[in-house]
Amino acid sequence: MRKLLWIKDSKEFWKVFGEEREKRRERLRRLPFAKKIEIVEKMKRMGVMKSPH
């Protein structure tokens, strides 16, 4: 993601941004379920999302 800071061209920026985001999602997808649960619970603790209910 750091290289995004040096990109001046907006088209190039969004291209790299999209690629980096996909790489990150792919890395997260491959995590073991136990690790994913830990991440979800950490996000909940941080109060990123309020209950929709």
């Binding site: 999602r25 379920f33 136990a34 994913k36 649960i37 979800v40 996000m43 929709p52 209910h53």
Partner: protein, 168 residues
């Protein structure tokens, strides 16, 4: 979440639950990247309302807090979705994938059944994750599920068609 699974397994051993499988947001996180989920959706093999009421009564007497549609188990709001609601649920639980998480045996809905249950709910947050799950699904199997369980009240076929058209 892990503590809640341990308690669910205990309920299964004590025959208060015949079988169960994880669905909803946690099941989506199993297949995709972790997504924020407030509750734990548990699909139950439970054919009658009496069985369902018996479970609720037991949990209430055991001191579990009931909040709206949730039963709070080990600080986790759990929403039970019994197979008496829709026949798709019974098949989804029966066919669910057996997994082990932190040494705990449990089941998670297979991607095709998870998609079908998300098509049943069809809220914006469900619609958002279906395209990604479709990439992992066996389309032949999914279409067979959709054909068998689609009806006027829950037009799964039309909803899937809408999603497929939106990603073309």
């Amino acid at each position: 979440m892990i503590k809640a699974l341990k308690i669910l397994n205990r309920l299964k051993r004590n025959h208060l639950i015949r079988d169960y499988a994880i669905g909803g947001g946690y099941a989506v996180s199993y297949y995709l990247e972790p997504i924020l989920t407030y509750d734990l959706d548990i699909f139950l093999m439970m054919d009658t309302d009496e069985e369902f009421h018996a479970l609720y009564d037991y949990l209430k007497k055991a001191g579990y807090k009931i909040e709206n549609v949730y039963i709070v188990i080990a600080e986790m709001p759990v929403q039970f979705l019994p197979s008496s609601i829709h026949p798709l649920i019974a098949e989804a639980v029966r066919e669910a994938k057996r997994i082990r998480v932190k040494g705990i045996y449990t089941k998670v809905l297979k991607a095709e059944y998870l998609i079908a249950t998300l098509l049943m709910a069809f809220r914006p947050k469900d619609r958002m994750v279906i395209p990604q799950l479709l990439e992992l699904a066996d389309m032949k199997k999914l279409k067979s599920i959709i054909e068998r369980f689609s009806d006027e009240k829950t037009p799964l076929d039309k909803r899937l068609q809408r999603i497929l058209e939106s990603i073309r």
